[in-house]
Symmetry: C2
DNA sequence: CTCATCGGCTAACACTGTTAGTCTAACTTC
DNA sequence: GAAGTTAGACTAACAGTGTTAGCCGATGAG
């Protein structure tokens, strides 16, 4: 019952396979528990069917494992955002609807993967990583300033210099809303429409309306 | 060297004293490390000069200890905010300056106690606490909606119905800014003026200007 | 055929949260 | 004042943790 099949080792070049399995199991556990210390190397090893020290063949240590999970999550979020923007554009959406689509994708991600989303922003920056890449939060910020810049370029070109500021405002406010929503126990939590209304109210206040006010089509 | 003085027990009714010492040590360690799992009961016990299980006389378990530290921190933040508002009012500040003072107090707190601030919003709600109190984040939100309500009452009474929304926007956006600032490694971090400018830019966009536009003194 | 190396394993260390049970000194009650 | 109770601590122990050291079988290169 303890070691069921004694797991035949992967072939010579196939070590990467186990790495992916470990990553998957760790992701699952982190998403279920939401706390870094609830993830134990022995636990993921048990789930994958290997022994705990074998994890060290593929990850430097536990922190490295967690960091990798979060890096993957960051990338997935960025992809979800850009895909939402592009498919909205392809469907002929106007600039406002395009921003709306990106915001919605962001919210969906944060709500569907709540534990990991929270974890993304609750970890200290680990300085012993390749400093060229920087913290993945930077790419997140970039995605938002790109969004506001594209919006301003089409809708209010004269105010395009505010794109950076607006991107920061948009992202930070949305993130704050989601944190609040995740944390608040009863009232808001579970009621997504509240979030949507808040978003709407925020966007109206933050994003400038089109400059040519009337029939510009 | 191990047990230096064998710490004479507190007198009969003085158990509270040790409780405070434990709380203080835990607060210190949490502020230094910033991670819940870096706080060990044996560690705080060592620092206070008692044995680890003695902590259980005063706290249900480790989570209870951490929660208590954060509750105290929440209260301190709320107090700092209201004090800033009141002392600004006492100094004859106008509504805008009053909001500004509260925002500044909030930022100061978040920057001076960065680890604890981050911890406040990264813990899951623990359901086995007295449910009457709710999550302390609720009081935080209340403080902000009070702030915006007071501002609107004086400056734009016709829009007072928006106070709730504006309070949420203000708080979530500020919180998001601070998270970003804490997380981003090089560029922003350590440069507080960036934060102040962001705040200013946000407040201008969010808070309505006085209704009587001209000479209303 | 040899041999290095990949992909794993076991054993062990130091540490953790938590429980059970014990001791001492002070306070309460008769 | 004697007896009992209890606040305020302690030691011992358990199960589980991250991590390191060292081993072992199979596979591929020379």
């Amino acid at each position: 019952m303890k070691s069921q099949v004694k797991r035949v080792p992967n072939a010579r070049g196939e070590g990467e396979r186990l790495r992916q399995e470990i990553l998957g199991a760790a992701t699952r556990i982190l998403e279920e528990t939401g706390r870094e210390d609830a993830l134990s190397l022995r636990g993921v090893a048990r789930e994958v069917g290997i022994s705990a020290p074998s994890v060290y063949r593929h990850f430097k240590n536990k922190a490295d494992l967690v960091t990798t999970v979060l890096d993957v999550t960051y990338r997935a979020l960025a992809v979800a955002m850009s895909e939402a923007g592009e498919s909205a554009a392809a469907a002929g959406a106007d600039p406002w609807e395009r921003v709306r689509a990106i915001v919605t994708a962001y919210r969906r991600f944060a709500i569907d993967k709540p534990r990991r989303y929270r974890l993304m922003f609750s970890l200290e920056y680990e300085p012993d990583r390749p400093p060229t890449t920087g913290h993945p939060i930077g790419t997140m910020l970039q995605a938002w300033t790109d969004t506001t810049d594209a919006y301003l370029a089409e809708v209010a070109p004269s105010r395009r210099s505010e794109a950076q500021d607006l991107g920061v405002h948009l992202w930070t406010a949305l993130h704050g809303q989601l944190v609040l929503w995740h944390t608040l126990p009863s009232a808001a939590a579970g009621n997504e429409t509240i979030l949507i209304e808040l978003e709407e109210s925020l966007l109206r206040r933050l994003l400038p309306a089109p400059e040519a006010p009337s029939t510009a089509e």
